[in-house]
Amino acid sequence: MTIIGIDSSGTTASVSVISDGKVLSALTQDTAYTHSRTLLPMVDNAIKMADIKKEEIDLVAVANGPGSFTGLRIGAGTAKGLAMAFDTKIVEVPTLDALAFRLIYSDGLICPIMNARRSQVYTATYETVFENEAYENPSLKEVLPMEAIDIYELMDKLAGLGKKICFTGDGIEEFRETIINEFKAPFEFAPPHLSRQSAASVALLGEKYYNQGRAIDIDKFKILYLRKSQAEREKGL
């Protein structure tokens, strides 16, 4: 099975083609260029680099949030357009799942934090669990649910879990000093080559979710904004 993975949820734009669990190509860019200009040329390049014909794509995996509202929609529109063209299903991969998946095998807990502005982060917390005592078939188990939450509130919750925390995601940049100064439990920061969105992670996780029967028709696709629009919030809706 050949899968194209797409993540444009943050400042990073990333596209990857995998086939039967093998990463054939992976492109990631984190520059000031707008995703609407760069993402589709990256799709084209990732397919060429994978040395496949685009018609061979069987499934589209896309980071469906949380993240930048506009970035998520550029990814979603691109995924929908490709899925319509190739007549495939889509598999939704929450951005935070994919960020955590990059650090699977970590001891302790994995906590992606994405800068959600207004001193909040989009976050969830995971731990790696194995199918057996030989450490086979690792998967992520959610310890704290996906939400938009104040960074201090998150640190309080995490400190109460009594385990080492590995922070990852672009929120590290914004909240590094806050965490170093205020967090009351053992922690570490994921390094730059592992702490940003990666479409290879989206595609690989997408394959797992597909095998769990989680692929959907495109009209069922939903973005996880985790936040209402400002107009709705002001209306108290």
Binding site: D44, G77, G81, L82
Partner: protein
């Protein structure tokens, strides 16, 4: 000659739309999902909410347009999308989806200017219409008096210095408690009112004699309402609506007719959402008959935002071999007659 079928996609404001048009003139399908009910709650279009609705609906609208045309994507020669002007978030949904769909299906991608799309609505309605002609494009976002020299060549003779005409309708409708969308609501209420009850100003502006200004008449209405409230005078909503509407259409029709006479144009096409206003259509008809100028208006469904006009415009991009690349971006302030890809 072989028939050319263009699939058009539009998402520049609060309508998600897709359509298949043959040879730039014949509508095979025209699907419009309107979000008006949602934005009515907020008294106007909320860009973030519009964007969220667009991305939910865009794929089903496209697939329905193909189905209604009794076609598959294999029958389509090119895919056209509005890339500006408009609201950036909504535009990006149409642009991202269409680009990926065109890439995946190996179809030529056609970038369409929304205002040029409004003009092209006249090609659908009036099968024999060919440039040159004078066109008034008037909508919630645009007020342009344009001489369409050729399918690809436009001379802008006048435009609004401030608010678009439709924007003034929305703001006044809100002030007199009619709500959103202002155009159709004022049109309806005005039928019960006296258009000469209150004399609101017909603004003259600097620049071209054919330029427009609608912020003055809007302010005059607001001042009138304030003064009436202060003095405890009764406000007759229908009279205010009718008088405001008359002030706006007098300027729109007056400028356009004067311009046509000056340039010795024998026909005027009207386009855009405000072109569906019944008083504007009636005044144009009356003035046109008086001056011996033919007035062309698209049916109301082709005046408000739709994708058939985008497909019609896309046809002319297609036959000119002007194809957009995979890096096509949304251009919120795209000017008429310019190409930004």
């Amino acid at each position: 000659m072989k028939d050319i079928n263009i699939l058009g996609i539009e998402s520049s404001c609060d309508e998600t739309a897709a359509s298949v048009v043959r040879n730039g003139r014949e509508i095979l399908s025209n699907v419009i999902y309107s979000q008006i009910d949602i934005h009515t709650l907020y008294g106007g279009v909320v860009p973030e909410i519009a964007s969220r609705k667009h991305i939910e609906k865009v794929d089903s609208v496209i697939l329905k347009a193909l189905k209604d045309a009794d076609m598959t994507i294999d029958d389509i020669d090119g895919i056209a999308v509005t890339y500006g002007p408009g609201l950036v978030g909504p535009l990006l949904v149409g642009v991202s989806t269409t680009k990926a769909y065109a890439f995946g299906t190996n179809k030529p991608l056609l970038g369409v200017n929304h205002i040029e799309g409004h003009i092209a609505a006249n090609y659908i309605e009036h099968k024999d219409l060919e440039p040159p002609f004078l066109c008034l494009v008037v909508s919630g976002g645009h007020t342009h008096l344009v001489r369409v020299q050729d399918y690809d060549s436009y001379e802008i003779l006048g435009f609004t210095q401030d608010d678009a005409a439709g924007e003034a309708f929305d703001k006044v409708a809100r002030a007199i408690g009619l709500g959103y969308p202002g155009g159709p609501k004022i049109d309806k209420v005005a039928k019960e009112g006296n258009p000469h009850a209150i004399e609101f100003p017909r603004a003259k502006v600097g620049g071209s004699v054919y330029d427009f200004s609608f912020s003055g008449v809007k302010s005059a209405v607001l001042n009138y309402l304030n003064a009436a409230n202060m003095k405890g005078e009764e406000i007759v909503v229908a009279d205010v609506a009718a008088s405001f509407q008359q002030a706006v259409i007098d300027v729109l029709v007056g400028h356009t007719i004067e311009c046509a006479k000056e340039l010795k144009e024998t026909r005027i096409a009207v386009a855009g959402g405000v072109a569906s206003n019944s008083a504007l259509r009636a005044l144009f008809k009356e003035m046109g008959e008086k001056e011996g100028i033919e007035i062309l208006t698209p049916s109301p469904i082709l005046c408000t935002d739709n994708a058939a006009m985008i497909a019609a415009r896309g046809y002319y991009e297609f036959i000119n071999n002007r194809f957009a690349g995979l890096d096509l971006n949304a251009v919120p302030n795209l000017k008429i007659g310019t190409i930004a890809f």
